[in-house]
């Protein structure tokens, strides 16, 4: 009888183990962390530029989970215009690089009206190449090890209309980014 009992227990336990997804599914939690980098450019020339330094630990969501993060992966980035004056047409060049280091990606919106990406309109989603994504991912994961190495977002606006520039041109844009964080819970 003992053998039968043991056999039942073993069969039942093995069956349950087989159908179970185990606890591993709940050991990690992968979620998206959005963050935004504001850049304002202004001046009296047809070409104006400026930059902002941004560190991921400025994100509240990042701060909440940073202790448990294992890996960061780039998901998507977009440009939107927050405010614009005296630029009805022009080029917007966006360069994101490691502060004091290599360029991670550079995109140019050519011959655009910046207000086209101002609320209530949707943003311009930046299409990154595989190489750019790989560079970003390498940076993001090095940031986990070295949180002092922040990124620099530079925006250069080239006015094409109206010309000549007689007023102070002003463009406040936001680079929105989303990274996926793999977190140990």
């Amino acid at each position: 009888m003992n053998k039968i009992i043991k056999a039942f227990v073993v069969v039942f336990a093995i069956t349950l183990s087989f159908v179970s997804n185990s606890c591993d599914k709940f050991d990690t939690f992968e979620f998206n962390v959005p963050f935004s980098i504001d850049v304002t450019v202004q001046g009296n020339n047809s070409s104006v530029s400026d930059s902002t330094i941004y560190c991921l630990n400025q994100s509240e969501t990042y701060q909440d989970y940073v202790e448990d993060m294992r890996q960061l992966t780039f998901v998507e980035a977009a440009w939107r215009t927050d405010a614009v004056q005296y630029i009805s047409s022009g080029d917007i060049e966006i360069t994101v690089s490691i502060n004091g280091g290599a360029t991670l990606f550079q995109k140019t919106l050519t011959n655009v009206n910046p207000s086209s990406y101002q609320s209530p309109n949707g943003p311009f989603v930046l299409s990154l190449t595989d190489t750019e994504i790989q560079a970003l991912n390498t940076y993001l994961n090095s940031y986990l090890e070295n949180p002092n190495q922040c990124i620099k977002a530079k925006v250069k606006a080239t006015v094409k209309s109206p010309l000549p520039v007689t007023q102070t041109v002003y463009l406040k844009g936001i680079i929105d980014m989303v990274v996926e964080a793999e977190t140990e819970i």
Partner: protein, 294 residues
């Protein structure tokens, strides 16, 4: 037997690890989207709690006792792996993961990105429950119980209580060749300050014993509710105004499970019974059990 009980307690804890993560997942969802995200779980969990109530319609004429462990395995249909969230004006919603789905999504819009959490990426959900039954004069009372178990470091406690009553109908019908019984089941699982699941089922079932083999069949009406309480972890930069400030949210969900048909068989070897059945309802569910009964 003690080791087996330990195994099942651990197993239940493992299955409910999903609960310990729900706050993290729900914290990034509005009330409306939590309802859509968690609804498949309400259905699957309710289906599990309403499963495994019987493996025979034969009830002892005098006295009977049974202690059993029931394992349930719910198949999650593809439709329950994604949902389309409700987003503010200016955003275009596409599918994202429910609690059973895979990756969360990021939606670009005029106020920045709105993100949704991932699911646990499973196509089935297992569960196991212990239960004890006492029968007397054609009536059986069943209990499901777990003492309070502390989960994680936030002080949440898991508790489970269930009760069922079953009565033989065939004992009133002379010469009927099969056993017939009706049963009502109620169960409640709670994780303090987070989740409360209440489940009710009514079934009629029949069985016929051939030596050590007892095939059985049943029809069951059931309902399940899942109450969730969570706190939105407000982010002032979120693209969704509803997610910009901390806020406590309570949500009540009714599972889609309402009816099922069950077909199975039990194998009785002395005082041990091994049973397995398939349940066809809103979800396809497999149940297996090991009972010690006399």
């Amino acid at each position: 037997m003690k080791k087996l009980l330990t195994f099942f307690v651990l197993y239940i804890l493992c299955s409910t690890n999903a609960f310990s993560q729900v706050e993290d997942r729900f914290a990034a969802l509005t009330q409306k989207n939590v309802e859509l995200y968690a609804l498949p779980f309400a259905t699957a969990f309710g289906t599990a709690m309403n499963s495994g109530g019987y493996h025979s319609a034969d009830i002892a004429d005098w006295f009977g006792f049974s202690i059993s462990f029931q394992g349930m395995y719910m198949l999650i249909p593809d439709d329950d792996l994604t949902f389309t969230p409700s987003l503010p004006d200016g955003y275009t919603a596409g599918p994202t993961a429910t609690i059973f789905g895979d990756k969360g999504s990021a939606y670009a819009g005029p106020a920045g990105y709105i993100t949704t959490p991932p699911g646990v990426n499973v196509s089935a959900m297992p569960m196991a429950l212990p239960q004890v039954s006492l029968s007397f004069m054609g009536t059986e009372v069943m209990f499901r119980y777990l003492p309070e178990i502390e989960l994680g470091d936030k002080g949440e406690k898991l508790s489970l209580f269930g009760i069922g009553a079953k009565h033989s109908i065939s004992r009133y019908i002379p010469l009927i060749p099969i056993d017939v019984a009706v049963q009502v089941l109620y169960s409640k699982l709670e994780i303090t300050n987070l989740v409360e699941s209440k489940n009710l089922a009514f079934n009629a079932h029949a069985s016929k014993t051939f030596g050590i083999l007892t095939p059985y069949f049943g029809l069951q009406f059931e309902s399940s509710s899942l109450d969730l309480t969570y706190e939105i972890n407000g982010d002032p930069l979120s693209g969704d105004p509803a997610l910009q400030v901390d806020k406590k949210v309570s949500v009540s969900l009714d599972g889609d499970n309402s009816f099922r048909a069950t077909l199975g068989a039990a194998l009785k070897l002395a005082i041990f019974v091994l049973n397995a059945d398939v349940n066809l309802g809103s979800l396809t569910t497999f149940t297996g059990g090991l009972s010690f009964e006399f």
